[in-house]
Every structure is written in structure tokens, then in C-alpha cells.
Symmetry: C2
Subunit: 514 residues, 2 copies
């Protein structure tokens, strides 16, 4: 067998079952090997930002890495923004990047680039395979690196001759470390804060937001009069009726400061010390009040379930103490479309077990309250802030969970970054309803322009925030890629459109005119 | 004035008149400054690959840098593939990348990334401004760096507080070095090869392919029985009736070997020693025959006009000796669409002074002969091999040359990478006719799969090269972004469609069904 086949066999044996790709010449042996080895589903994206964002969505829903297959330095470049996002979400990912044959690199052909140099800032592990005999071992090491807690970005660079020369066979994946247990002193410090009688917050992200640890956290909060909150963005929050409800830190700095100002103690469970998304003149970077004490119970890579169990024991809390969200859907809204009526329409219609991939930016900031009592569902945010993740993330989540409805909430500006996702959804028959919020602007930037104190904007500045002239027509764009849909101009329309989208088993797009 | 305004004034004073952008919060002061300073045209792209590719097209047609304005690390990431292409084309470019305020970086907010680390592999010059007082000087240095021969990539990273804090005023651009003159010995070695009586090739790229140096090279070739050829890809070739005709080295290795095998001497004028685009098993990387002697008359940054003048003097050649292309349009083709009839339709209709942005990949390999005798025009190739350049390049060329028709020849697979370009063309009313070759596949990869010896491809492999299921509908995609067009299924249709597109003053798209 050749090197490519030894790598594909190593990946499949190591549990890597999906490859999102946009391959080129230097990856042809890898692609050919996919037909010789059973067990790897290969999914084409028409742009590499789709590929890496889909791998992120897949990883968030399965907890294990997909592979990406990318064409040399530029293919990696195009994937980088969503690799950035995946890294910030601690999603495991194995990027396989084709490279010129080892002996060809020195000739500086057009596609030659410093792939390692570009990969290092975004990767936890980078290696260029030296020859065909070492490629399986390198692949196994990449699986281990990607799977190490909390989930890492591994980038394996594959010169073409390492793929086509003879290899021995697949390699075994090294042992993957478990999540580390937190120290007793970390648990005791948290318990002591909870017993202080002073206002205390459990601030969570990562695995702490899955159902079972949330039950534990909810029990602790109920028992100690502490409160629960999540970061502003989270990789995957399990929420809805019957689950422990969690609000998130608001995006707007003033609102965040106001929400956090009462706390004397913040116990960090996977979360980091809360900071503003951006700096603004005369506004603090840190969102917690001065004098607030932070207690890190667990960092993002540690065993949060174990830590919460031990903390619950110390304070005498049980899962059953937790206050749970009642089942409570809002009435179907009528009238004009605005963030509240959209939230109500979503809350009224969201299917059980739905996966919400949320890149709704400005429109969606208030979606949580009216969807809180909907049937149990997952909510995925963009954690790296690089727009253009929503549709790829939905694509990957749908590949991971073919029996669940995926709902992609997408701004029109963000959606244009990686609209090619719709084609992959059509080809693979993925069950994604995409809701585009067509405010025809980078609406968030209108607020930001004011907040940074940039003065009264003139025509040039406003034009850079404006997506009109010409207006985008999302129905045309979707149909051009084989996805059907409809346009809605009222809340009643939206109710019907969501019903229609959720009834289809496959991709559907709703353009919400704002 | 604040730092942002001091930078914009520096840029405008330094001759930087266009900013292609997709800005975010950290760039808002720069955007706001654009309304305070006259002389900078600001053009929005809905994805950063459009932004950087357009800056490349602008630079190729004007010889001077545009600026790009990009939003932190991920905005730079999205621009990287076309920065790679621009770097390989020696296009001057000034990337201005917003960054968090200096004091905010340490808090590791979601968008925080190692921008310098990612920028270095693709940039000839990188600097992060330290404070508002130094930003104008840094901007002036960036202009000088970008403008240094042969044209370089300069990346200036702009923390938000350096933009909003007080600055003194604009800075003067340092002197920009002239292109270096080549040594006498380089000229003499070339002359000696030409006098050897052995088969000799003048292999050219860069400024050697502009009209006047081509006249000189043509005169030398005529006088010495040498031949002329260009690299396979070139930043800008001036060709057509009345100009000195130049063929290019074929992409396919066997063809290239065959074309070059007769030469004993290759004189390099801007060009590099010819190498295969990719390595293939049992195929050489180097395209020239063994024993062929290379003589570097001028590298890409040196003064090729002066070098050719001195060489012409030595061999007694004059511009007027050159053999020029006759005016000779093919007949309008009839019948089925194929690469030959498409080439004939183009050759029959190409407007005088057209700018051809060619990313036609497989379909366009034979377009040269039948367009050679069309009225004078420019031909721009992708020099870095990263697909997704054609439409952005056309966009930037149209901004640079509003009185010339731009013809973008684009594969459907490549076009999908940066289709957002069409929206910018519509907003700015750019005079671009885009011809999409809809073969509904990555057709080039079908050949490559065989050439790398990857065996008989199975269904999985073939699916990765196939753009059908669903078929893309380019008319819908274009109309979704405000660009009108038509679909053609015969050579007659194409003749009419080209007439229609060339008659419109503005963007138009022709989907050629293959």
C-alpha cells in the first residue's frame, strides 16, 4: 500500500470517519485511497472555509475530530479563519494539508508557500511528514494531538511523494490522555466562596454546559444561593425545557458590566475571566467589578464533571436540587418582523432535539429568553468572532447528527462569507433550515462606529457598513446552489416558513426581510 | 488629528488612492477618517479574498499599490490566498490589518490571534504600530516597502488605540529605490549566447512583457535568430495586433518538455528557471533539457528595459527589427461550444484595449493562438496557482482602468471561491464581462488524477472532482448579487452574448455550458 492509503487506514482505525475536503493535485493519492478503504465519508466543500467550519460543527456534536483535506498553503489559508474559530471553541480537528513532493519544494513552483509557518499560529500540533514510511505514524500522532483535552488543532503536512511512495501499513494511535482532575484546593476554594454568603457566580463554558454537569451546577447554585451564567459565546449549550437554564454574558460592554457588578466571587468552570469582545475608548477591558475575586475551579481542559461532583459533595448539593426550565413556548407572533417577534416564532416552532447554529449577530442577541422553554435543543455559537462560521458549522453538525434538525441563524453579511455551504448541504441532503436575517448591512458596525467614538460618520464610512446597492437576493443565491426557500416580510409569514422548513427533510432557506 | 487620520493622509499624500476593504470594529476610526480626507476611494468587498485579489488587479494595471483594510487576524486569513497570488505576481500591496487596542491584546478576547506570525510568511515587510504618534511614519514605510522593485507585500498592523489616539500629522514617504541596473557581465553573457549560433530562447516575464521591452526583445530575437517565450503565467502581457507575439510555456509537463527541448541556451529576463507546476511520479521537476545553459539577464526586480536596450546595442538589434503580430481576427465560430470555438468567439469579439483576467484553467489553455491577432489588449494570469483570483483580479483591474473593458475568463470551480466579487462589480458599476466555463467539475483534476498515477478512480474520488448534484446555476448566483447575464449553449449564442456583454457598460455574466 502507498503512504496515502496507510494514512487513510490509520485515520479510520483511529475513529476519524469524516473528511471534509477541497482537494487538488497534490492530494489526489489521498482521494484515490478513500475508494480503497471503507469507513471514511468524504464531503466536498466548494471553498475551504466551508471545509474547516464544517469540521468544527462535526467535532462539537460528536466530541471527536473530523479530518480536513486541503490543497497546499493557499488551501490552508482559506480554511484558517474557521480554524481560528474552531481553536477558540476547543474543537478537535485534523487538518491534512497537501504539499509539493519533497524534492519539488526547492524549485519554488507557483503554489509553494511556508505552510508550517502559516499553520503554527493556529495549530496546537504541526508536522510535515518526511517520507511514506512515517506518514501513518504521523497521522496517528495527529489523531492523538487533536483528541487531547480539551480538543486541539492538529495540522499534518503531506508532501505528495510521501503519499504515493510505498508504506508499510496503518499505525496505532497513542493513548490519549484523560481530562486532568482538578486539585482539592481548587474545589475547596470554590466551596469556600459559595459558603461566604457573598454574591457568587458560577461562570461556565465547554463541557460544563452539557446536561449532566449543568444539573450539578444547578444543584450547587440552588443549594448555595449562587447564580449560573455562561460565557457570551459557547461551543455547545444544552438547553430547553427540563434543563437547567443559563443566561449568557451580554455582548454590549455596558450591559455586561451591569449584569456582573453585583458579584463578589466568580467561580470559573471552563470559562475565562470575562473580557470585552473589543476595546473601546474609556471603557474597561475587564467586565467584572473591581475587587471581585476569581476562583478557577476547572480550566477548559480539565474534568469539569468530576470537579462539579466534588464541589457538590462539599456543599451538600445534589443534581435533583437544580431548578429546571419549565416547558413553555411563546405564542406564535403576529405583526412586523423584529428581533422579538423572530425570537417568538423560533421559540414557538423549534423542533425537539434541534441544533441551533447561531451567527445571527445583532438580530439574535435577544433570542435566548423566548426560546428557553422550547423542547430540549443545543445552541452553538461562534467562539472566535470570525464571521462566516454559521453555515459551515450547521453543515458539519448536520453531518454529525443526521436525525436532528439543524437551524442556522445567520446574518446576511456573515452569510456571504461562506455561502458555498449551501451547495454542500444540497449535495449531501443535509437537514438544515437556514434563516438569513436580511438587514442589508453590517448592522453591528453601526453601533460599533458610535461606540468607538469615531464621530458622525459620513457617506464613505456608512457605505462600508451597508450591503444595499445592490440588494442581495438570498433566494436566488440559494437556488443557484440547489437549495429551495422563501422570503418572509411578516411574523405570520415567518411562522409558516419555519413550519415549511422544519417539515422538509433537507436544506431550506428563509430570507427574513428586516 | 487622530492616528487613523494621520495614516490616511500619509497614504493619500503617498499616492495610495484606493482602499479595498471589509472593515470591522477595530478599523472604524480608519473608516471614519476616510470621510475627512479627500482622495481615497474606498471599495467594499463582501469577503476578504475579493479585497486582496482586487488590490492585485489594481496594482498590475497601475504599477502602484492599493491598500487593503482587513479586520484582525481572521480578516487577514481570508485575504491570504490572494495575497499569496499577488506576492507571486510581484504586485505592490499595502495590507492594513486592524488589531485590538494594545492594552486589550493580553486579555485574549475571541478575535485575538498572532497576526504578525501569520503575516510574515506572505509579507516582504511587516510591522505593528506601537502608538498613534508612530503610525504615520509606519504607513510611509509601508508605502516605500510595497513600492520597492519589483513590487512587494507590506503588512501594517494597526492596534485600535493607535488609530484613535492623538497623532501629529502625516509623514513623508522615504525615497523608493529605482530598479537596479544589471551588470555588464550579465549583458555580455546573454550576447555571447545569442552569438553562439546555438538554439537560444529569451524567456520573459514581469515588465519584460510590456510593449516597449517586448519590442526590444523582438528586435533582438529577429536579429539573432533567437526565439521568444513567456512563463506559463504572467502578471501582465501586452499582446494583440501590432505587438510582438509571445507564446507561453505550456502547463502540461510533457508539452513543456517538448517545446523547450531544442534550446541550448535560455536567457532569463525576469523569468525563473522553468519548473513544473506540480511534481508527478517519474516526471522531472525541471522543464529545460539537460545541458541547457541558463543566462540570467535580469531578475524580476531589475531594470529589464535597460538590460534589453544594452543587449540590443551589443547585438546590433533595433526595436524596428521585431516581427509584429498581424491584425487578424478569426471568423465567428458556429456549432458546438468547445475550447476552439470559444477561443474563436473571443478572438472575433475582443474589444480594443481589453484587459483579460484569465482563470479559465483547463478550458482556456488554447486561447492564445486565436486571440493573438485581436486588437491590442492585456492578458493577466494567476501566478500563484491559488484558484479564486480571476473575478477579484478583474474587479481591481476595472477600478484601475475605468475606460477599458475587462473580460474575466473563469472556471466554475475557481469562480465559486470568490463569487462575492460580482456584488462589488455591481455596486461600483465596474465594466467587467465575466465568462464562466461551466464544465461542472474541477476538470483539471481529472487529468491530474491520472497523471499522478493514482489508478482507476472510484466513485468517492470522482465525486470530489465533480460539481454536479446539484448543478450550479450561475445566472441565479449573479442575479442574487445584482449582475445580469445569460447562458449559452452554442457558439452562435456565445457570439451574441459577447456582443451583448461588451455593449453593456457595467458588469455582465455569461455562463458557457460545456
Amino acid at each position: 500500500m502507498n503512504g496515502a492509503e496507510s494514512l487513510v487506514r490509520t485515520l479510520v482505525n483511529g475513529g476519524v470517519e469524516v473528511c471534509f475536503t477541497n482537494p487538488g493535485t497534490s492530494e489526489m493519492h489521498f482521494v484515490a485511497a478513500l475508494d480503497k478503504v471503507k469507513g471514511m465519508r468524504c464531503i466536498l466543500g466548494l471553498f475551504e472555509g466551508v471545509v474547516s467550519g464544517a469540521a468544527d460543527g462535526y467535532a462539537r456534536m460528536t466530541g471527536k475530530p473530523a479530518s480536513t483535506l486541503l490543497h497546499l498553503g493557499p488551501g490552508f489559508n482559506n480554511a484558517m479563519a474557521n480554524i481560528h474559530n474552531a481553536g477558540k471553541a476547543s474543537s478537535p480537528m485534523i487538518n491534512i494539508v497537501g504539499e509539493h513532493a519533497t524534492y519539488h519544494i526547492k524549485h519554488d513552483a507557483p503554489l509553494t508557500a511556508d505552510i508550517e509557518g502559516m499553520a503554527r499560529p493556529l495549530s496546537d500540533w504541526v508536522k510535515t511528514s518526511r517520507d511514506a514510511m512515517s506518514i501513518a505514524t504521523d497521522g496517528a500522532a495527529a489523531i492523538a494531538a487533536a483528541s487531547a483535552p480539551p480538543g486541539q488543532i492538529a495540522t499534518l503536512i503531506l508532501p505528495a511523494d510521501t503519499a504515493w511512495n510505498d508504506a508499510e501499513g496503518p499505525a496505532e494511535v497513542p493513548d490519549i490522555p484523560e481530562r486532568a482532575k482538578v486539585s482539592d484546593s481548587a474545589v475547596e476554594a470554590a466551596a469556600s466562596a459559595l459558603r461566604s454568603g457573598e454574591p457568587t457566580l458560577l461562570l461556565m463554558t465547554g463541557q460544563a454546559l452539557y446536561q449532566d454537569p449543568l444539573d450539578l451546577a444547578g444543584g450547587i447554585a440552588a443549594k448555595t444561593d449562587a447564580e449560573l451564567m455562561s460565557q457570551g459565546s459557547n461551543a455547545r449549550l444544552q438547553r430547553g425545557a427540563g434543563r437547567v437554564p443559563v443566561e449568557r454574558i451580554p455582548y454590549v460592554v455596558e450591559q455586561a458590566l451591569s449584569v456582573l457588578e453585583k458579584y463578589k466571587h466568580i467561580i470559573l468552570i471552563g470559562a475565562k475571566i470575562p473580557v470585552a469582545f473589543f476595546a473601546y475608548p474609556n471603557t474597561p477591558s475587564l467586565l467584572a467589578p473591581e475587587g471581585c475575586e476569581f476562583h478557577q475551579l476547572a480550566d477548559i481542559s480539565e474534568d469539569m464533571v468530576d470537579a462539579l461532583e466534588r464541589l457538590a459533595d462539599l456543599v451538600g448539593a445534589k443534581r435533583s436540587d437544580a431548578v429546571r426550565q419549565e416547558s413553555n413556548r411563546p405564542d406564535r407572533p403576529t405583526g412586523a418582523l423584529n428581533p422579538d417577534t423572530i425570537a417568538a416564532a423560533l421559540g414557538a416552532a423549534l423542533p425537539e432535539d434541534a441544533i441551533v447554529a447561531d451567527e445571527s449577530v445583532t438580530t439574535g442577541r435577544g433570542f435566548y429568553p423566548l426560546t428557553a422553554g422550547a423542547p430540549p435543543h443545543c445552541w452553538l455559537n461562534n467562539m472566535g468572532g470570525s464571521i462566516g462560521l454559521g453555515m459551515p458549522l450547521a453543515t458539519g453538525a448536520a453531518v454529525a447528527c443526521p436525525d436532528r434538525k439543524v437551524v442556522c441563524l445567520e446574518g446576511d453579511g456573515s452569510g456571504m462569507y461562506t455561502l458555498q455551504s449551501l451547495w454542500t448541504q444540497a449535495r449531501e441532503g443535509l437537514d438544515v433550515t437556514t434563516v438569513i436575517f436580511a438587514n442589508r448591512s453590517y448592522a453591528i458596525l453601526r453601533g460599533e462606529l458610535a461606540k468607538v467614538g469615531a464621530g458622525n460618520p459620513g457617506r464613505t464610512a456608512l457605505d462600508m457598513l451597508d450591503l444595499s446597492r445592490p440588494d442581495l437576493d438570498w433566494l436566488m443565491l440559494a437556488r443557484g446552489m440547489g437549495v429551495d426557500g422563501c422570503r418572509v416580510e411578516s411574523a405570520d409569514d415567518l411562522n409558516k416558513a419555519l413550519d415549511a422548513g422544519f417539515a422538509v427533510k433537507g436544506p431550506y432557506l428563509i430570507e427574513v426581510m428586516l
